[in-house]
Each structure stands twice: as structure tokens, then as C-alpha cells.
């Protein structure tokens, strides 16, 4: 099969970053960057922001309302019980359960959201472009039919890529 991608392999964060900046300046479209640890300049300047924290907040909101509604339904509407003459709609003591179950729901829901959006689940096999990208190399990936191949590879060479691989 003919190679679809070109990747520039960088030994250091700084050289990868300068390549990243140059490519942004000259509008060479970057498909993805693989890093052994997150480099924030890349995360912030490439593509859309992740909305997972906002989504998490809404999970919390819905979970709070849901849990409170459940507690009121079961303890007040469906089967009120007399515990030592205390009111069945004991709102302050519902708060503890609400907080904990909200945390519980946010955890589970945002884990699943993460798994779905970041495309990660057990035994998932995604194509690995460079084996050392999880060890000590920084890899910039560009798609051949989206960019000027010569320009992209010369840019990466100039900024200090240790190798350019077609894949």
C-alpha cells in the first residue's frame, strides 16, 4: 500500500515545538502529534478545546437533581417511614447522600465519555505510527494528500527532525 502519511520524528520537545510553530505559521496542516507527555503549547494551539470539563459539570448538575428527586420520591412520596418522629422530608440529611452519589455519577459518566471521545477502550488496537512516541520521541504526523509534501518535510528537517518517515 502506498504511504499516506509523513511523520517527522523529533528527539527533543523544543525542536518539535519549533517545527510545530513554523508549520502553523506557514499553514501546513498537522494531522496529529504524538508525545510521551503532554506539551501544553501543542494541546492549546492545535484543534478544538476539549469540552469534557464542561460536560462533567452538567453531569454533576443532572446527577444532583436526579438523586435529590429519587430521595424525595422514595423517602417522602412512595413509602414514608417514621424514624423516631422525625420529618420524612429531612432535607439536610439528604444532602450527604446527594453529594456522594453526585460524585459517583460524575465519575462513571465522565469515564465513559472519556473512553468514547478519546477513543480508548480495553483491547482497542489503534495503528501505532512510531513505537518510541510513548518513550522519548515526539512525532508530528501530516497527511500526504492534504499538504505540500516537499514543503512539509523540508520544514521538519530544518527545525531538527532526526528522521522523516513515510507511512
Amino acid at each position: 500500500m502506498e504511504a499516506q502519511y509523513i511523520m517527522g520524528v523529533f528527539d527533543e520537545e523544543q525542536s518539535m515545538l519549533s517545527a510545530f510553530r513554523r508549520m502553523k505559521e506557514e499553514e501546513v496542516e498537522i494531522e496529529d502529534v504524538f508525545m510521551p507527555y503532554p506539551v501544553h503549547e501543542v494541546l492549546e494551539n492545535h484543534g478544538k478545546k476539549s469540552k469534557i470539563t464542561i460536560v462533567g459539570w452538567f453531569y454533576g448538575l443532572f446527577a444532583t437533581l436526579g438523586v435529590l428527586a429519587f430521595l424525595v420520591y422514595t423517602a417522602v412520596i412512595d413509602w414514608p417511614l417514621n424514624y423516631g418522629g422525625k420529618p420524612s422530608n429531612a432535607f439536610p440529611s439528604f444532602l450527604v447522600v446527594t453529594i456522594i452519589l453526585t460524585i459517583f455519577s460524575i465519575t462513571i459518566l465522565s469515564l465513559f465519555t472519556f473512553s468514547w471521545r478519546a477513543n480508548l477502550w480495553p483491547s482497542n488496537q489503534k495503528p501505532i505510527f512510531h513505537e518510541r512516541a510513548t518513550d522519548d520521541k515526539f512525532v508530528i504526523l501530516v497527511k500526504k494528500d492534504k499538504v505540500d509534501v516537499l514543503k512539509a518535510s523540508s520544514l521538519m528537517k530544518e527545525t531538527g527532525a532526526s528522521e522523516i518517515i513515510e507511512k
Binding site: 412512595d78 424514624y83 460524585i103 488496537q125
Partner: protein
């Protein structure tokens, strides 16, 4: 998790990234050492003893324990609270220090979280068994049932406890696992063994370190961190309300929630200290878990120890100041003097006085003494729970109802069993999981002094 500036070098020895990977993953590839196998054997025997105790308890009932009508809570609850306390370390380390942007956490958090998950697992055994009829444990779930439907009592701290522990186990385990995903991918891409590639590849979930993955990974870390910080405070507050809502002398006080939370973090940090001293010595990770790291933990321990001392003094003062004769009796004639003097003074000395020795730099930098102090703290914390549970219950309002308590062999065996589970779990962690968060350590590595392959060399400075 990674977006922070730090002051000095956190990792010694001018490491390049590849070397970090090799240093941390080398125990995974090495053959198990003799001491490891022996440790696994001993902890397995302890676990078997524990399983025997559990079997005896389930098949014959709570009558095999030393508890009686007066002292209804014995070793089971003492050990439950003790384990939960130890289990607060991981969250304290990962979450509070994550939110406070303390980068020095990155060498320690993985081990602390591993410890948390095992310790909370150990803790959960006790409340489940102390119910007596464990096969009816599902009654505590609020579900539509044929008994009414009779829903559970949401006003009861025991129910709060159940959901708090479940939520805590879930969230600490998922936080721990989330942190391991990039490291599993590192192992998957580095190992030569086919089995390791398949197993770690399965758990790495297809991680490649791409932009999209890192973005959401950090987002999720902050979500879990933010909510777990609330949880860690509320879990032990809830445990304390198990006591504080009861009208028992010595229990019925509002100081209990903060007192328990601080105590829990105290014992957790002490256990982290114990474990890290062992771990860095055995696996020669002194470059990652440096003396500076342990120095910081020691300073935190001094500070928390002062809070513990203040809490003990406040309790004693208020018992006297309230003028309540039952409180005065419990504190002055049943704890400070009287039947449980030894337990009280062990608690007070080990928790409030001994850690103060670490004000001296000489003592703080002597790892043997620090190691002994960290173990004494956990002994002291065990005695604290003994004090709270047993001294209050044995002698409350009616002298005719007074009774004494001593554990039976079954209770002791069950405690030894959980210690076995803990050691077993920690040993498996040493062997099969990278003990230090590789990707996080790599991210803070660039802050060291100029080295051959660091970014600082090129004059770009710190990012």
C-alpha cells in the same frame, strides 16, 4: 496535571527521557527476587488465616468475636477506620497536591494511589462482615423490593458510610487506572515479550499519546481530582458521624469530622513514607524519590501531628470545661488514667509527640529514624481508633451495663488477614505496574539543571 512551573530539580542525575522509561520499568522485566517470593508466601499465609477467620465468622456468626451487648463494636470497626485512614493517602497525595499544582507529587502519587486502592479494599471487608448476615448485605441498596417497598433510611450515617466507601473505592481505582494508561502504552511499545505486549496492550486501550487523547486525559484528571477532593473530606467525615451521632460519652462531639479527616491523612502520609522508604531503597529509585521529597512529607507529618495534638487537647479540655460528669469520667478516669491508660498514652505519644522529633533536620534526614517514626504513627493511629471505639463503649452511663472487651483469635486473624492482603497487593504492584508515573516524571524532568538532552540547554529556558 502537567501544566506547572517548579522551583528546583525534582529528579536527580540528569536523566534523558529514554533512561527514565528504562529505570522505572526495569523491575517489570527482571526476574522476581528472593525476598519478593518470600514476602508473597508470608502474605499468602496471612491471607489464608484471614479467609479462615472470614469463613468462621460467616458460618458461625458474630458470636465468634469478643464483642458483647455493651461493646458492640470491637476490632472490626477499629480496623475498618484504620484502613480507611491509610487509604486516604493516595487521594491526599494525588488530588490535593494536584489541585495545589505541587509537582513533587509526581514521583510518589502512583505508589500512594496503589496503596489507597488496596487499603480501601481491606477496609470494606470489616463493615460487610460486622453486619452478621452478610448474605443479606444487599438490603442496604435502595431498590424496589418485596419488603414493602421498604426503602433504606437516608438519615442513617451507616447508609452514608456504605455509599461513601463504594464511591471512594470506585473513584480512587479509576483515578489510579487513568494515570496508568500512558505508562501501559509505554510498556506495550517497549517490551519484547509477546505476553506483556498483549496484556499491557489490552489495558493501554490503544493509547498513542496523540493530541486528542492528552487533552481529554488532562480534562478528566481535573474532573476526577476536583470531585475526589470533596469526596476524601466527606468520606472520613461520614465515618466520624457513625460515632458522633451516637449519644455516647467521648463520641458525641462536633470536633469529630475534622479530627477524623486529619487523622486519616496523617496515617495515610505515614504509610506513604514507610512504603516510599522501602521502595526507593529496594529498587534504587533514589534519583526519583529524592531526599527532598521525603523531607517534604516529613514536614507535612510534623504539621499534621500538631493538629492531632491540638485535637486531643481540645477534646480533653472540653470534657473538663463542659462539666459533664460522664465526659469527665471517660476522658480522665477511663483514658488518661484507669483501665485504658496504656492505649491512651501510646496514642498520644506516637501521634502528637514523637513526630515532633522531625523538627530537627538531623532526624529528618536519617531515613532509619524517619522509617521508625512513620511506623509508630500508624501504631499510634490504631490505638486512637481503639481509644475511641472501646473506651467509650465499655463504660457509659449505667455501671450495671459496663462490660469489658478483648478480641478473640478470629478477630485477630481477620486483622492479620487484611495485613496479608495489603502486603500481597503492594508486592504485586511492585512487580507488575510501573511504580512511578513515567509520563508525569518525564514532564517534570525538563526542570532539572542543564543537561545534554534537555530543553534548557538551547537557551529557551523554562518553556
Amino acid at each position: 496535571m502537567y501544566n506547572t512551573e517548579v522551583r528546583g530539580p525534582l529528579i536527580l542525575g540528569n536523566k534523558v527521557l529514554d533512561q527514565i522509561t528504562r529505570d522505572i520499568t526495569s523491575p517489570l522485566y527482571a526476574r522476581p527476587k528472593f525476598w519478593w517470593v518470600v514476602g508473597l508466601g508470608i502474605s499468602s499465609i496471612m491471607m489464608l488465616l484471614g479467609f479462615w477467620a472470614i469463613f468462621t465468622t460467616v458460618s458461625q456468626g458474630i458470636g465468634t468475636w469478643g464483642v458483647n451487648n455493651t461493646v458492640g463494636w470491637g476490632w472490626a470497626i477499629i480496623n475498618f477506620v484504620w484502613w480507611i485512614g491509610i487509604g486516604h493517602a493516595g487521594t491526599a497525595f494525588s488530588i490535593f497536591l494536584l489541585i495545589l499544582r505541587q509537582e513533587w507529587r509526581s514521583s510518589i502519587n502512583r505508589a500512594a494511589e496503589a496503596m489507597t486502592v488496596v487499603a480501601v479494599g481491606c477496609a470494606a471487608i470489616f463493615p460487610a462482615l460486622h453486619m452478621g448476615r452478610i448474605w443479606d448485605a444487599f438490603y442496604i441498596f435502595p431498590y424496589p423490593n418485596t419488603r414493602g417497598p421498604l426503602w433504606v433510611n437516608y438519615n442513617s450515617p451507616l447508609f452514608w458510610d456504605f455509599i461513601a466507601i463504594s464511591a471512594y473505592l470506585l473513584i480512587s481505582a479509576s483515578f489510579w487506572y487513568l494515570g496508568m494508561i500512558p505508562d501501559f502504552a509505554t510498556i506495550r511499545d517497549n517490551t519484547k515479550s509477546k505476553i506483556k505486549k498483549a496484556v499491557y496492550g489490552f489495558f493501554a486501550m490503544g493509547w498513542r499519546g496523540s493530541i486528542g487523547e492528552w487533552k481529554r486525559y488532562e480534562g478528566l484528571s481535573y474532573i476526577l481530582g476536583g470531585i475526589a477532593a470533596v469526596l476524601v473530606v466527606s468520606v472520613h467525615s461520614i465515618v466520624s458521624t457513625d460515632f458522633a451521632v451516637a449519644v455516647e460519652p467521648g463520641w458525641h462531639t462536633t470536633i469529630f469530622p475534622p479530627y477524623f479527616v486529619v487523622g486519616a491523612i496523617f496515617s495515610g502520609f505515614a504509610m506513604v513514607m514507610t512504603l516510599m522508604i522501602i521502595l526507593r531503597k529496594i529498587y534504587k529509585l533514589e534519583d526519583y524519590v529524592t531526599n527532598a521529597h521525603l523531607d517534604k512529607v516529613a514536614k507535612i507529618l510534623i504539621f499534621i501531628s500538631l493538629i492531632m495534638g491540638t485535637a486531643y487537647s481540645t477534646e480533653i479540655f472540653l470534657a473538663w470545661y463542659s462539666g459533664n460528669e460522664y465526659e469527665i469520667f471517660t476522658f480522665f478516669h477511663n483514658r488518661i488514667t484507669g483501665e485504658f491508660t496504656v492505649q491512651f498514652w501510646c496514642m498520644f505519644t506516637f501521634n502528637a509527640l514523637v513526630p515532633q522529633l522531625m523538627w530537627f533536620r538531623k532526624i529528618r534526614s536519617n531515613m532509619l529514624i524517619v522509617f521508625i517514626i512513620s511506623i509508630l504513627i500508624n501504631v499510634g493511629m490504631w490505638f486512637e481508633r481503639f481509644n475511641i471505639v472501646v473506651t467509650s463503649l465499655t463504660k457509659d452511663y449505667l455501671p450495671s451495663a459496663w462490660a469489658t472487651y478483648s478480641p478473640t483469635f478470629v478477630e485477630i486473624a481477620m486483622y492479620l488477614g487484611t495485613l496479608g492482603i495489603f502486603v500481597f497487593g503492594v508486592l504485586l504492584f511492585f512487580k507488575y505496574i510501573p511504580m512511578i508515573a513515567i509520563s508525569e516524571v518525564k514532564a517534570v524532568n525538563k526542570y532539572q539543571v542543564p543537561s545534554t538532552q534537555s530543553s534548557v540547554k538551547k537557551g529557551n529556558g523554562r518553556r
